[in-house]
């Protein structure tokens, strides 16, 4: 951290920007800290739109909701939320293929080697004709059958977690209500000036168009891609990762629902990127992420509109972005949360998760008297670690593609990888070794989903899997498969769960 360390007591927090990031920050900070004598002011301008694309979440959102004191049922009804058990990837391994990244495990422990080694042995023994890997995961089987019930216990074959698919705009509006009830002050207005302290150079205040001066001790920059404080004012710098993740544009459009409202998000590979489908209770969110070096804007929007399942209910909106992250998410007395801190494309629904990670880390490291360099360094270390791991995981989807003969995909396969990913890929290809770090967003099961889903099959397997006789292995796998099938049959249908849970979208109940 550069500049003088200001050890003034932190009593006033100013959040710059509303939208999902701003109101999540307000909700999280107010719930955890407002009782400690903190004042929280959020400045937003209705004249400035929000990006608001993130509609699919990861199971960690449930932790955030719990910390923010949000009632799940109420939240679902207010945001038109559906349940999400995973993400389905179509045509990534090769044309016509699909797999799912579930929020749960595959199989169970049946010997000293990890489960996937026994499945791979079975597959080899049956010349590739064994049951697909995904059929050994309860959330995948339930998702594909359109079923859901809240998980009852933590461990075992039927253990899983779930997330939500919701309207991010409605979620922000809902959190705005929650936060203001908790004491957060909302100020409407466009920021026209940022004032710095005479000594040290910390941010002292933001000034609105109408001349209102809002002073603060700590500023949370949720101003989106504009990065008003962290970049425009503090010039923190940006690590550009577009050499690895080159998609830099997207078109987004909602459409009417005409197919089943399934409990999963879909990501379908396209010629120069991929298309998302996120089914909500009242509509379907769609988007096409692409790289402008491989597709014109017109071709990209045409492709999106041609692949909608229902009638569009708005004009398509174009988004521009550069993948990467701010060099320091916390610089001086400014913490960048959301798009002002960085952007990783929404392939694995990480946008909202990165927001909540930023908020929860800030709560844990919230300063008492000034921003202690040790705390700032730790915050940045944690965020860098998270961004780096997510980057590698997203990149894996691209480099492990089998879409031959398409320039975008051919180039992605042959790119030079970050060493951290190259090692993981080599370890799996050679011997089926999976990343086994214990903290972070995407753990072993997530990596396995993509490796096996995209046909990255190891050259050799764990020798310990050889210790189990073929018949015994086949019997174990059959038992697991049948337990999952039976479990799915007993599970309720997705939409009827939403009805019975009392979480049906109440139109007009939101802002």
């Amino acid at each position: 951290m550069s500049g003088q360390f200001n050890n003034r007591a932190i009593k006033r927090v100013v959040i710059v920007g509303g939208g999902t990031a701003g109101w999540m920050a307000a909700a999280g900070l107010s719930r955890a800290l407002i009782g400690a004598g903190l004042s929280i002011t959020l400045v937003e301008s209705e004249a400035i739109g929000t990006v608001g694309v993130g509609e699919a979440t990861l199971p960690q959102i449930r932790d955030f909701n719990r910390i923010a004191g949000i009632d799940e049922r109420e939240m679902m009804a207010r945001t038109a939320a559906t349940i999400k058990l995973g993400i389905e990837f179509c045509d990534w391994g090769g044309p016509g293929e699909r797999y799912m990244h579930p929020f749960g495990t595959y199989g169970e422990s049946i010997g000293p080697a990890p489960f996937h080694h026994y499945w791979l042995k079975e597959r080899a023994a049956k010349n590739g004709e064994s049951k697909p890997f995904g059929e050994y995961s309860f959330p995948i089987a339930a998702a594909w059958d359109g079923r859901f019930e809240p998980p009852s216990s933590g461990d075992g074959l039927l253990a899983y977690n779930y997330a939500f698919q919701f309207d991010a705009g409605l979620y922000a509006a809902y959190l705005s209500d929650v936060s203001q009830k908790a004491g957060v002050q909302r100020k409407e207005g466009r920021i026209v000036e940022v004032r710095r302290e005479q000594t040290g150079g910390d941010i002292a205040a933001v000034v609105l168009e109408d001349g209102t001066v809002i002073e603060g001790d700590l500023f949370v920059d949720c101003s989106g891609f504009r990065a008003l404080l962290i970049e425009q004012e503090l010039q923190t710098g940006f690590d550009d990762w577009s050499q690895w993740l080159p998609c830099n544009r997207a078109w987004a459009v909602p459409c009417e629902t005409s197919a089943e409202t399934v409990p999963y998000t879909r990501a379908t590979a396209r010629d120069a990127g991929w298309q998302w489908r996120i089914p909500l209770q009242h509509r379907v969110g769609n988007g096409h992420v692409y790289c402008d070096r491989y597709s014109s804007d017109q071709d990209a929007v045409d492709l999106l509109m041609a692949n909608l399942e229902g009638k569009p209910i708005a004009d398509p909106r174009q988004l521009f972005f550069t993948t990467g992250k701010r060099r320091q998410m916390w610089n001086r007395n400014v913490v960048a949360i959301g798009l002002s801190g960085g952007f990783l494309e929404p392939l694995e629904s990480t946008s909202i998760d990165l927001i909540q990670t930023g908020i929860l880390n800030l709560i844990e490291l919230f300063p008492q008297d000034g921003c202690a360099p040790a705390d700032v360094a730790e915050y940045n270390r944690l965020m860098d670690l998270e961004y780096g791991r997510i980057r590698d995981f997203l990149l894996l989807h691209y480099v492990a593609n089998q879409r031959h003969g398409l320039p975008f995909w051919d180039d992605m396969r042959s790119m030079e990888l970050p060493e951290s990913l190259a090692e993981k890929l080599e370890a799996f290809r050679t011997r089926g070794l999976t990343p086994d770090y214990s903290e972070g967003l995407f753990l072993l099961q997530s990596w396995l989903s993509v490796f096996i889903g995209q046909n990255v099959i190891p050259d050799t397997l764990d020798p310990r899997a050889e210790a189990m006789p073929d018949e015994e292995r086949t019997a174990h796998l059959a038992r697991i498969h049948s337990s999952i099938e039976e479990g799915v049959k007993r599970t309720e249908e997705h939409l009827s769960f939403i009805d019975q849970y009392g979480a049906r979208f109440r139109q007009g109940s939101a802002h």
Binding site: A32, P112, E423
Partner: protein
């Protein structure tokens, strides 16, 4: 030309090879031959204190009763730290699960906030002491296994056993020797193929033992010196060990800081093991006075290899690192290495990816163990030239981050493959006198009366649980 791994050779001194061979013997398929080259030479009267309910023991299907009956292990719930805060000081460090939180806030933050309100900023160790359940149980001579009920205080226990390495090894050997081909002897070198990989080890009697993959616990297969990094410049420089009659009064393994050395005293069911981790300054007189005239002495400067698996040779135990006996670091590393190796065994002789993955994970495990085992060396507040020099040396980066974060705000950052959990770290740092500078703002958000009520209620629960626990002696007899 790559071919399947059909023969694995594990070579080294008895105490080092069997903790590895036992796990491989249990998990490998019969199609892979397991040769153990066992050097019977003694490394001295070695002892260790190891967790009972570890992944290592679970995979060997060893429980507390097996350990007590199989190798005269002595069970306990913690270890005594003596002299670290000055002559005559003492506290207990105990592996501990997490205490309940209040509104997502750890209890030590609440206590820190309360003592700040009472103007007693420097006395966190004292104020927090009643909540150190596992440490209090250990100090009171209690013993028990962790409860499965997560809300029970007993779920926080991290029981351990103290063992003589020779007896522990003999037990492991007995359990798996049928699966292994055993050769008594000492490795003196290796025969290499054109690609530099080892094709056979040369034994002292001139014979060759061929294999596809070699686990070298001897250090005699050869390694380039640039693979070795020095860890801590002062301790332990060399180790002196001795064995004495059991001291009935000592119920916990004890780590005592002396003027320029650390004395480790490990009680098993039938004996007492002493090890002196000496610095370069430790005199012969101190060794003789502390251990008696019959101490075995091993030159053992602390060091570790950066990448212990090279080509088709994985170096484990003393062949890869010497961490010393403080908090049983050497044994902890050997067990961690055995687990990492078993999980990443190669199928074929081209094993670069396996080696790379092992080396990365090993580096993380090594950092976790050294951070925890060496933390007392940096946190010790004893006076004197030796300890002042120790404190002036920069700690490893992750340990520095932990100390900085805890000093700043009472938070313990976690890292991959940590050796001790957060509660154990928290208590260790508090016991070493660190009072966080800042108070967690979430703790300030909880009204003092509410915090006080909650803490009283938790303390009462802990007292009740403590009263109902079994004494160490009674527990030992029951298991025996």
């Amino acid at each position: 030309m790559s071919k399947p791994v059909e023969t694995i050779v594990v070579a080294g001194r008895t105490a080092d090879v069997w903790p590895v061979a036992a796990l491989l013997a249990r998990e490998l398929p019969d199609a892979i031959a397991l040769h153990v080259v066992e050097d019977m030479a003694s490394d001295g009267a070695l002892a260790a204190t190891v967790p009972i309910a570890s992944d290592y023991h679970a995979r060997l299907e060893l429980d507390c009763s097996d350990l007590i009956t199989g190798c005269d292990a002595w069970p306990s719930l913690g270890s005594a730290m003596e002299g670290w805060m000055g002559e005559g000081s003492r506290f207990v460090t105990a592996p501990s699960g997490t205490l309940p939180m209040v509104g997502g806030v750890a209890l030590h933050h609440l206590v820190r906030n309360m003592i700040a309100g009472q103007g007693q900023d420097g006395d966190l160790a004292n104020a927090f002491a009643p909540l150190r359940f596992a440490a209090r149980a250990a100090e009171a001579g209690k013993m028990g296994l962790p409860s499965d009920a997560p809300e029970s205080p007993l779920a926080m226990l991290g029981p351990q056993v103290s063992v003589g390495r020779e007896a522990y090894t003999a037990m492991l050997r007995d359990r798996c020797r049928q699966r292994c081909t055993i050769t008594a002897g000492k490795v003196q070198g290796a025969q290499r193929g054109d690609d530099g990989s080892v094709t056979a080890v040369k034994l002292a009697d001139g014979s060759l033992l061929a294999g596809d993959f070699f686990v070298d616990c001897s250090g005699n297969i050869g390694v380039s010196e640039d693979q070795i990094s020095e860890l801590v410049p002062f301790l332990p420089h060399w180790i002196a060990t001795a064995e004495t009659a059991k001291d009935q009064a000592q119920t916990l393994p004890t780590y005592r800081a002396l003027d320029d050395a650390v004395l480790v005293s490990t009680p098993t069911a039938i004996k007492q093991f002493l090890a002196l981790a000496c610095s370069a300054q430790t005199s012969d007189e101190v060794i003789a006075k502390t251990l008696g005239d019959h101490a075995g002495i091993a030159d053992s400067p602390a060091h570790a290899m950066v990448s212990p698996w090279q080509n088709n040779v994985a170096r484990l135990g003393p062949a890869s690192a010497q961490l010393g006996p403080i908090l049983s670091a050497d044994m902890a590393l050997l067990q961690a290495q055995a687990l990492l190796l078993a999980d990443g065994l190669p199928s074929r002789t081209d094993m670069q990816a396996e080696a790379k993955a092992f080396n990365r994970k090993h580096a993380e495990a090594l950092r976790g163990i050294t951070d925890f085992a060496f933390a007392p060396l940096y946190l010790c507040t004893r006076k004197g030239e030796f300890w002042e020099a120790m404190r002036a040396a920069p700690p490893p980066a992750n340990l520095q981050t932990r100390i900085d974060q805890f000093s700043s705000r009472g938070r313990v950052p976690s890292f991959e493959r940590d050796h001790a959990d957060q509660q154990t770290w928290t208590e260790l740092l508090i016991q070493f006198g660190i009072t966080p500078q800042q108070i967690d703002r979430r703790a300030q958000a909880i009204p003092p009366e509410q915090a006080s009520r909650i803490l009283s209620s938790i303390r009462a629960d802990l007292e009740r649980a403590l009263t109902g626990m079994t004494d160490q002696d009674a527990y030992f007899r029951r298991m025996r």
